[in-house]
């Protein structure tokens, strides 16, 4: 089956006076994807989402959703979009059920259909035992689940989740991630932003790395990993290595970065066979005693670090 673009963003520019928040941003998101949007704080993720939802006016560019231009009056498009904000956006004065029903009512008029959808959303997020409780009585994890229930209750085709697992305990986080994958399995396209690289790696089928308002790289996790130089990182605990020895390691094939701090030797190498064996043989030749040895394939964090030059949480 040929996949179709559900969202197309072309040359999107958004300025806040002298600050360019989005700098010719281009994105294509296909139907059925879980699309991860990765970027450090201030990279333009939220601005991009706000423009996408027509909550913000932009200076230049086009946004097309479901093949139609997205404007504040595109109510047919909006009907098919569900939004889960970073902050919990519910009414404190309403119960869990009333909140879900209220936000469902913004899309669905039919009372009977709404009741059914609300029941389904409650069951989906596992909030059956808390329907009569007010939000302030809920734990952080349950609140997040309520937030998600309010966003997905009308069964949208496209769901935008902006950091939905912030300040959530691991158990609830897993439940939320499983839920997102399940929503995708049920046919929804997901746009997912998160600071947690491992979450993005776990659930996203495609990822865009965004910084300074434009996309630096797009692809699957594997595709992104292949874009960078690092193929393997070897970490060795060893005592008192001198500069001559480190220089020897640097001259080994495929090695492009060596660092030695606090008795830990870190060697970054390009993708090649027998990297680890070669390094260990060299150390044995030089009669170097060493402790624990780790060999790691590149993570999304390495990709991010190499592409943007900074950690995600910088």
């Amino acid at each position: 089956m040929q996949s179709t673009n559900i969202i197309q963003i072309e040359n999107l520019v958004k300025r806040y006076q002298n600050l360019v928040a989005l700098d010719h941003l281009n994105l294509e998101i296909q139907e059925g994807e879980i699309f991860g949007l990765l970027g450090p704080n201030g990279s333009g993720k939220t601005t991009a989402i706000n423009c996408l939802l027509a909550l913000l006016k932009y200076d230049k560019g086009t946004i097309t959703i479901f093949g139609e231009p997205m404007t504040p009056g595109s109510y047919d498009i909006k009907r098919q979009i569900g939004v889960v904000m970073q902050n919990v956006a519910v009414f404190e004065q309403m119960t869990v059920r009333e909140n879900i029903d209220y936000f469902c009512g913004l899309y669905i008029r039919d009372k009977e259909k709404r009741r059914q959808l609300v029941d389904e959303a409650i069951a989906f997020t596992g909030l059956e035992d808390f329907t009569k409780m007010r939000p302030k009585k809920l734990s952080g994890g349950l609140l997040r689940r309520l937030n998600i229930a309010c966003g997905i209750v009308h069964k949208p085709r496209l769901i935008i989740l902006d950091e939905p697992t912030v300040a959530v305990d691991p158990q609830s986080r897993n439940k939320i991630l499983e839920g997102i994958v399940e929503l995708n399995r049920q046919g929804s396209t997901i746009i997912y932003t998160s600071h947690y690289m491992e979450e993005v790696e776990q659930i996203c089928t495609r990822i865009a790395i965004i910084d300074h308002g434009h996309v630096l790289a797009t692809g699957t996790t594997e595709e992104l990993k292949q874009m960078i130089k690092t193929g393997e990182t070897i970490t060795i605990e060893a005592i008192a290595l001198d500069e001559e020895l480190l220089s020897g390691i640097r001259n080994l094939p495929h090695v492009f970065d060596v660092s030695y701090e606090e008795q830990t030797l870190k060697i970054r190498l390009g993708a090649a066979r027998h990297n680890l064996v070669r390094v260990l043989n060299y150390l044995q030749e030089k009669d170097v005693r060493f402790g624990r040895v780790f060999s790691e394939l590149p993570t999304l964090n390495d990709v991010f670090l190499e592409i943007t030059g900074k950690e995600l949480r910088d």
Partner: protein, 383 residues
Amino acid sequence: MTVYRGFLTITRRNIRMVILYLIIFLSIAVMVQKMTGGNAAEFEQVSLHIAVIDQDGGELARGLADYLGQYHTLVDLPDDPSVIQDRMFYREIYYALTIPGDVENRCLYGDGTLPVTKVPGSSSGFYVDQQIDTFMNAVRVMTASGIPLSDAIQSVIDSSADKAEVTLIDKNGFGGEQPLHAFMYQYMPYILISILCYSMCYIMIAFRNQDVKRRMMCSTIPARNQNFQIILGFATVGAAVYGICTLMPFLMYGKTFANDPNLPYYLLNSFLMTLVALSLSFLIGTLVRSEEVISAVVNVVSLGMSFLCGVFVDLEILGKGVRTFAQFLPAYWYEVANELLANNSGFSHAQQMSLYTCYGLQILFAAAILGVALVISRFSQTA
């Protein structure tokens, strides 16, 4: 009408507070009724414990003592200043009159005054002073016109026993008294402002939450439609509170209120005050950011305006400065109109103009407050 339903759901969450205020309102009304008890036009003369020290023993002295004895209880005391002062200190007597020897020549025909001991500046002292002056003047006039002293004294004592029939001018159809429902309407601004400001502020804070707002903006209901539904919610709550406040005087005073010729004016006046309270609640709701401060702000506004504008005390009791300042507050014009309605049934042209001025000013206040609130709201959105 999802937004409207949500508005009413949040309003229902504050129903306990609304009931609390209504209970306060009813309690005040019942207390006023108990205190006035419908006998405001009855008059009872004050009778004091006084002492008369008669050093003269003559006809005039005895006559004066008899005259005062008609009004007050005479207490026997020795002619000892320290005893008189002690008794007065403990308020066993309120006035002590010493009639000196040769009082007739010294005080009736001469310029002498009667020595008295009284609580300085007290109304009781002034009251007895006046009675003594009245007696002495009457006797002086009669004797000057040739009537013998004994006849003059007897005549003054006899005439004091005459009772005058007093009838209050009935300008308002309630025998000149303020009707009890007028008291209820006097307190109504406090209830309207308190209830509406409390409930509306809570709702406005809920709907002004940026995240909730963003989520609502992502929905299929246009922003204009959402605003319309919120305004409809405001109108519904305002109408409900107005309805309850209007129902209460009907329940408590029934036909008396229903037959009051000023009934439509009362209803219009309280309706305009409801509009003012609604716009005020919108302004406070726009300014207040957290639920914690609502109570403090609403109390300051509702109590402050009530005390300054004659809600809790009659307008005539307020000082000139306070009244001048109160003219810049809408509740003052409500109270001026209410006072006009309470004291009159038919209106002269000037009174009618005053009434309409009060109504007009309330509308202007409501519009001005709403305008300020809208400007602040727009400013805070763009800031």
